[in-house]
Subunit: 373 residues, 2 copies
């Protein structure tokens, strides 16, 4: 274990039980252009720029065969990638609760609670729930079922249940998503609870599901929902987890960004449909895992052929080699499967992609992290 | 056709028969830091920086439901993405020649010629060959089989054949790859020939295949080969084509960069192996196509179980929805399949990913294109 993992935690987090906060209202309020010029000058620009006076020698050195030394792979991520922290636990069980969702919110909450409890009984230390598990998935339902998460338990019975059950069972819960009301806006929101029942992070779906495939499926989340404004990555008792909700998985940059922030696992609660599900759901999960060499876990509602929106199902755990470790069909089911973070380091030593990237040719900029420096 | 495609070509290319050149020795020699500061100030930095004096109003506008207007998707690519040009032809046939490769170079050249001729007879207007088709795939062979492509026909019988057959058959050839000798260096190089037989572009593998999976496969291309220094995209008679060679496909940034330069198609000659092939070859091809909503074509050598390096085979054409349009097994075979570029626009209107990206959160910088401005 010690041989595999770096013994130093990244400087971004005070402790592993603290959410990783890359940008604060305070840091936003003091943004000025000057630091970015300096940053781009010294760090993110290719050497042909930042070491302009060494231009000729640079051209010479890039033709050596030692890629890692010559092509500045560390500059392929701006700011530079954070080394993956030592996880608090290497091996543990994850539970993916693919739930049947009804129009009865109280029933949905009780039903989800039972599924989480059963998963914990089977040894799950991390439980993942589906996208929109307390409400039908429709623009008509979102305002009706939405809860004010920030206002606390009475205003948000769904998250109050998750908090309580996380504390009682001493497990981490990535609570799928529910419609959230905040002031006059609605969001599609995922809450992460720690083993003490405290809310560790809240992810509002960044990329809204606005698609139109004539004759197949049309859906416009933006009719009722507002998009979130920030990526969400959180240090938990079971490792550093990046969160995306469903359509967020289509944007490869978000997964790259989470990997560069040191994520062990990306959780995507999601409800792909009968048109894009068969072709893309497994593909996208496996691609995000293999390209970024980390774990990906997804959780969908069970399929209800009579619903206005028919979910594809197929909740899945994918390992850092892009291999499917566990999956299910479309019916209600709970997957219990093992995550072994030492596999990440193994795959990264087999295929050292991070050392082979070409920072002289492309760079992925994590804008908020850059601005918060 | 005219309704679907933009009628204006991007300003980067003088004509469709000219290779897209993003960086020249001349432009490299005049690089100065100042323009990049200005560029980052006005274009690539998030609005919170570049419009600092409007900071408060920016924070307000990002909470509207209109993602495209609020979140600067056009800033997700730096420099901004180039609109895909009108292709000279919308529908055409591509031929993927999965060739058996031997230690006899003359035989390999004659054999490849025959395969290209047969593909053209079956209507292929674009023919793709495998990675390292004139030589065994080994570090011992590369120096022996390498040719001096720039020195012309006598010094490079493999590319001389491709040039001649392209001219005689009036087809475009993406000529797989061969070991190239240039001064004291060796490269893994793909040549693209136009219908006039002229060399339109030359791609030197950017990411060398250095992997080590103990007990399964170990290969270090960097022992003999030097990595290329630039992405390669070329306007041909059959559309704008980005080139990657084998391991290049693992680096998602390269495909993003080609898509942002307006590629219709990315061609990856490649020879995945028996360890990574089954798990990753199809996955990576489909992911690059679906994420970037363009065509991906791959071509492998046929499998030779007695070779030092055993190729997985499975040459494939993937459409812009990530769908496999044609594929083969591991034996020698030629695939003839149709490409229909109007499908790109269809898929992009179904799933408008380009308009939904979050330039306020992440940006993919095309370093050489940025520097050449």
């Amino acid at each position: 274990m010690k041989a595999i993992w770096s013994s130093t935690l990244c400087s971004l987090t005070g402790s592993l039980t603290t959410s990783v906060s890359f940008i604060s209202p305070r840091s936003l309020s003091i943004l000025r252009p000057a630091p970015s010029f300096l940053f781009f000058d010294h760090r993110s620009l290719p050497k042909t720029y930042s070491n302009n006076h060494h231009h000729q020698s640079r051209r010479t050195t890039t033709t050596t065969t030692s890629m890692a030394a010559s092509f500045s792979p560390e500059e392929a991520r701006v700011p530079p990638a954070i080394q993956m922290p030592t996880p608090p636990i290497t091996k543990f069980k994850i539970g993916l609760c693919q739930l049947a969702v009804t129009a009865d919110k109280e029933r949905n909450i009780a039903h989800a609670r039972k599924a989480v409890e059963e998963a914990a009984q089977k040894g799950a230390q991390l439980v993942l729930l589906p996208e929109i598990w307390n409400s039908p998935y429709s623009n008509d339902s979102f305002p009706v079922y939405a809860e004010d998460i920030d206002a606390g338990s009475d205003a948000s019975p769904s998250t109050a249940m998750l908090s309580e059950v996380a504390r009682l069972l001493k497990i981490t819960i990535v609570g799928g998503s529910i419609p959230e009301r905040c002031l006059d806006k609605l969001y599609n929101t995922c809450c992460v609870f720690g083993t003490d029942g405290k809310l560790k992070a809240k992810h509002r779906k960044i990329h809204l599901f606005d698609i139109d495939i004539p004759g197949k499926i049309s859906f416009m989340e933006s009719k009722t929902l507002t998009a979130g404004e920030t990526p969400t990555i959180v240090d938990t008792e079971v490792g550093r987890i990046g969160i995306g909700i469903c359509y967020d998985i289509r944007f490869q940059e978000l997964a790259i960004l989470y990997a560069a922030r040191g994520a062990h696992l990306i959780c995507y609660p999601g409800a792909f449909n009968m048109t894009t599900g068969p072709l893309h759901w497994e593909l996208l999960q496996r691609a995000r895992a293999a390209d970024n060499q980390l774990y990906v876990a997804t959780c969908s509602p069970a399929r209800d052929a009579g619903a206005g929106y028919v979910a594809w199902g197929h909740s899945t755990l994918v390992g850092p080699f892009g291999e499917i470790l566990a999956t299910t069909e479309h019916e209600e089911a709970t997957i219990i499967s093992e995550i072994d973070y030492s596999q990440i380091e193994l795959r990264r030593s087999n295929l050292p992609l991070a050392k082979q990237r070409r920072g002289d040719l492309y760079q992925l900029v994590d804008v908020q992290r850059l601005n918060s420096r």
